[in-house]
Symmetry: C2
Subunit: 217 residues, 2 copies
DNA sequence: TTTGGAATATTTACAGTGTTAACTAAATTT
DNA sequence: AAATTTAGTTAACACTGTAAATATTCCAAA
């Protein structure tokens, strides 16, 4: 069966080359300049060959969106050894913002572009990646409540609020909505971080900023 | 000079027809299905005629983005007779969310699509519409602080935080990121409103929800 | 070793896209 | 009436995603 195995390897190898080429184009020339023909140029196949590996263009974007979530989760490994859940929540926010600002293309596919969600509907699937990410956020929020770091409220609502705030910050920034409002371009990221700090501070029941002792104990 | 005037009228009349047709296509068939040729079909001119009235496609989108801001401001007229600035802030948030959810296409052009901002950079202009909107938000925030409804912090940072939260909510919803997470589709808007309520409540220094008496007086 | 069939890849084609250049016809000015 | 500006059209270029038909390569069985 070594031969079927090798074929399988080759197949996934080419799929990977297609995804790499797509991402390269996406990063270097923007969403609208990723074309099947240019992907084909890069991997040195004819354009239609791509359709042997992906049903259509949107399926390529869906796969890139999944890779984005993998990358994000890798980045979040630094959360494991933060015992204080409020500090961990803060770091989660920082990671999220940094990921979005440093990988605007992946971020786009994960949270802005409609294509990956369309594909999901088409396949009749749940959004597992988003679901898992939101669950991790909610778990942290719940832990914060249980340990008395933040006030008790509906964890779902609070998770959505937190997510919305950081998503709002990142997406306004990457879609150039802050450039023309914040005085200097260099000040956008610091500004966002101030906003994130505000969020964590207002959540912090101790009112002492992150790292403060839990109030109920 | 009546003749030059009539000509001017005709010119703006055709511009308006182009914008109307573009918006119609955008609303009914989505951003990617707005094509110069189909706009031309609707207004019953040849495709290239459109270039006599707009430099390129992006300029059309830029104009629609401006119309969106006009519509939003009209909607905000109901704020004028709210004296309590915190209640007004709450209503501003509600207006913003409703506007975005009911006019997702205008919202897209105003706060998500890159095209209008590109045009702005190209023209070397400021983002007057965004600037004005953010200023109105900041003024309300400042008034809330002055009258002791909310805690004193940097009004710029707080304005950005508030805007990010509501923008995050609306854009996650309109880009289908909440559909697959919130149990039923009908529950998305109520969920968003809960989140908005959470925001106003956490801002409210009295801790009594909107409408509570100002604490410092 | 040759043959047959499956897997893989390419060529061709269709129907669409934004935009430019060249051209025509009507309106206005001289 | 002639010249000139304005408004609009046709034709063309260089792209796009993708389906169908065709060609090539590969591997197993005869």
């Amino acid at each position: 069966m070594g031969i079927a195995e090798r074929k399988e390897k080759q197949k996934t190898e080419i799929r990977k080359r297609i995804l790499d080429a797509s991402m390269k184009l996406f990063v270097e020339e923007g969403f609208n300049n990723v074309s099947i023909r240019r992907i084909a140029d890069i991997i040195e196949y004819s354009p239609t060959t791509i359709y042997l590996y992906f049903k259509d263009k949107d399926e390529i974007f869906f796969n890139l969106h999944e890779i984005g979530f993998q990358k994000m989760q890798e980045m979040n490994k630094n959360l494991d050894d933060i015992k204080n859940p409020l500090l961990r929540l803060h770091k989660m926010g920082e990671n999220y913002v940094h990921f979005g600002m440093e990988n605007p293309e992946y971020y786009d596919l994960m949270f802005i572009q409609p294509e990956p969600m369309q594909k999901l509907t088409e396949m009749g699937c749940e959004w597992e990646n988003g679901d898992a990410a939101l669950t991790r956020l909610r778990n942290t929020v719940v832990e914060c409540m249980e340990k008395g770091y933040i006030a008790n409220t509906d964890p779902i609502v609070l998770s959505l609020s937190i997510w919305s705030t950081v998503h709002g910050l990142v997406s306004l920034a990457t879609r150039q909505r802050l450039d023309k409002l914040v005085s200097e371009k260099d000040n956008v990221l610091p500004m966002i971080m101030h906003s994130l700090n505000w969020l964590i501070n207002i959540l912090d029941i101790s009112g002492k900023g992150t790292g403060g002792q839990p109030s109920g104990e």
